[in-house]
Amino acid sequence: MFAPIYFDHNATTPADPEVIEAMLPYLARQFGNASSRHEYGRAARRAIDEARGQVAAAVGAHASEVVFTSGGSEANNLLIKGAAACLKPGLLAVGACEHPCVIKPAEQLARRGWTLAKLRVDGEGRIDAEHYAAVIERKPRIVSVMLANNETGVVHDVAALAEGARQSGAWFHSDAVQALGKLAVDFRRLNAAGVHALTLSAHKIGGPKGAAALIVDKRLELEPLIAGGGHERGLRSGTENVAAIVGFAVACDLAVKRQAALAEHLCTLRGQLERGLLGLGATLFGQAAERLPNTVYFSFPDIDGETLVGQLDRAGYAVASGAACSSANPEPSHVLQAMGVAPERARGAVRVSLGRGNSEEQVAGFLGTLQSTLSRLQQLAAMAV
């Protein structure tokens, strides 16, 4: 039995050996509760302080701007609901292609007196500039647009969007979970452009699951989601997950150090993959937009995405038919719907997201397998007619 090849790095990534090594002491003798005043506790506190500095440095933020959370979903919930709780209900604008952990909290607020505007995208998944300007005219109080989309990999010019929103006085948030490690992410530059908060997550960049951060401008007032003890400057209570936080920090260091070389490597692989896919007759979603170097989202006419993904899994390639957390949901992707992709086309969607461990040989092997799988599925479809 050979190990399957992992092409689903936007769902999660394996933890880097250096990350695991850094975490292990905190699962063993360095087990203190960071709130305890004795030496065990102080050692844990020092580890968290150091990690906070590392995470901040990775995105050009200040340590005091980092709020650790249990994951990206929590950080996004904290920002959307926490900021809203400190404001009078008004207009809230989020990208139509945002992750559910931005859209669902926004929809919750819409049931409590807020007006929700979903920012339209064009056929390539880019924010529709005209609609955006019109929404900003209506003076939203909160705007959230992700740096890069998890399904299509489409990258938004968040600095320009934030500049455009500045006159409205809105708090501007960007979910950078998929961008970190694949693009350069500089909070100081974004902050200067009017971005007030960023969401980062460890397990998408070779860190452990269970740690993430909200990077937040101190002027942005937040109501905590989780009360009790006043950890994280009162913004997030609960005993700190020291091992995961330490692992997150090391992963951030590595991600920044490797980002440029990794992006180049991934671009090469993506080019190879896309040429092959186009040769086989695929449609690439968001092809004309600026995209992450690792993400390719495609479909073939009359081929069901779930079926294709299942066949590929059996042949030893782990890919996704949509976002991991809604894989159970048979509805076509909300991202493709927002892009105006016809439902029958959207149901064929398959996502390949490449990572550090992937190679040209693996991509070549995948294309070969895909070709034979496709012709088998097409034969079956022809027989069924």
């Binding site: 305890s36 506790g41 006043g230 209570s237």
Partner: protein, 403 residues
């Protein structure tokens, strides 16, 4: 050779049992899939591990695995339980009841609910730390929707009468939540018997990792909650967010070990605690806090009169102990739990919580006893108050001059 400082703060957190850590590591390395990935074996493997761990957590407390919802820890579980139930059942009433001696995760959440328009009654406890059932009965109102009482107190280790409170709440159709963060592995919990609707768990107080906890949500009769974290709809919509597989596997293993070993382990720990109790009992003017019978064997909380609290902690820094709960230890305020028992500030200030655990040894306890005798003796030699007490002055009759 003894390793110093000696860890006697198992209620703040416990080390991860090496057997637990060993089970966790493969899920960081080769079995790293996202349990929500439904399209490949990496995801299925992770999901299977998550479900196996869910069974283990359920088994420790005799619940159904489908009643277990993963969270990031007991603090989040407590927030989800109280806010989720209060908000969902707000139509039936907006009054909650809890105790003054609950953990901050409950008290701060109740304060937040008060800001949202709910009323909360904070009950006094008896001098021994236990709730008076008649006081609880009397506090019930027609609009009471939720009662929250902790199973085991984190500072004094007393075990509240959960079965009796459950009967009262069930008979009135009131949702009953129990914070069991300090109870798992220490007291037997049978959710088929107890009439508890919601119960919070933590892994890191029971030799599992930090960053993972769970909330038990009863299915029969069915308890509903308003979700507090929205997104991909994980955990049947109760709690969205990628599940941290390795931490969940760790919690499952930690709870499995607790189920298998708690019987013998608790007897060993009780022997050690009793040895410590006997060792400190012959120091003059030692006051024990909390009921000694209805109490977990892991906890001893003692006040050493006529010794100043901060100096005491400094003097015994070879012992990693705490003066209260870790979550409030940054403040120099005396413990609100001890004050609720009627201890004056002075005594509350000079109190030490000793909490023993799986890796505590007899040698460590003997060292601690000797150290306490030496240091308390020395500190009292320096205390003018102690000198007056020795001379027979009743301090309560002394009129102090203001400076």
């Amino acid at each position: 050779m003894l390793k110093l400082p000696i860890y006697l703060d198992y209620s703040a957190t416990t080390p991860v049992d090496p057997r637990v850590a060993e089970k966790m590591i493969p899920y960081l390395v080769e079995k790293f899939g996202n349990p929500a990935s439904r399209s490949h074996s990496f995801g299925w493997e992770a999901e299977a591990a998550v479900e196996e761990a869910r069974e283990e957590v359920a088994r420790l407390v005799n619940a159904d695995a489908r009643e277990i919802v993963w969270t990031s820890g007991a603090t989040e579980s407590n927030n989800l339980a109280l806010k989720g139930a209060a908000q969902f059942y707000a139509g039936q009433g907006k009054h909650l009841i809890t105790l003054k001696t609950e953990h901050k995760a409950i008290l701060d959440t109740c304060r937040e609910l008060e800001r949202q328009g709910f009323a909360v009654t904070y009950l006094d406890v008896l001098d021994n730390g236990l709730v008076d059932l008649e006081v609880l009965q009397a506090a019930l109102r027609p609009d009471t929707s939720v009662v929250s009482v902790m199973f085991v107190n984190n500072e004094i280790g007393v075990i509240q009468p959960i079965a009796e409170i459950g009967e009262i709440c069930r008979s009135k159709g009131i949702i009953f939540h129990v914070d069991a963060a300090q109870a798992t592995g220490k007291v037997a919990i049978d959710l088929a018997e107890l009439k508890v609707d919601l119960m919070s768990f933590s892994a890191h107080k029971t030799y599992g990792p930090k960053g993972i906890g769970a909330l038990y949500v009863r299915r029969k009769p069915r308890v509903r909650l308003t979700a507090q974290m929205h997104g991909g709809g994980h955990e049947r919509g109760f709690r969205s967010g990628t599940l941290p597989t390795h931490q969940i596997v760790g919690m499952g293993e930690a709870f499995r070990l607790a189920r298998l070993e708690m019987g013998t382990e608790n007897e060993r720990i009780r022997m050690l605690r009793d040895r410590l109790l006997k060792g400190v009992s012959d120091i003059d003017e030692v006051h024990l806090n909390g009921d000694l019978e209805r109490r977990v064997p892991h906890n001893l909380n003692a006040s050493f009169a006529y010794v100043e609290g901060e100096s005491l902690l400094m003097a015994i820094k070879d012992l990693a102990v705490s003066s209260g709960s870790a979550c409030t230890s940054a403040s120099l305020e005396p413990s609100y739990v001890l004050r609720a028992l009627g201890r004056e500030d002075e005594l509350a200030h000079s109190s030490i919580r000793f909490t023993l655990g799986r890796f505590t040894t007899e040698e460590e306890i003997d060292y601690a006893i000797k150290l306490l005798h030496d240091k308390i003796g020395r500190l009292r030699e320096l205390s003018p108050l102690w000198e007056m007490v020795q001379e027979g002055v009743d301090l309560s009759t002394v009129h102090w001059a203001a400076h």
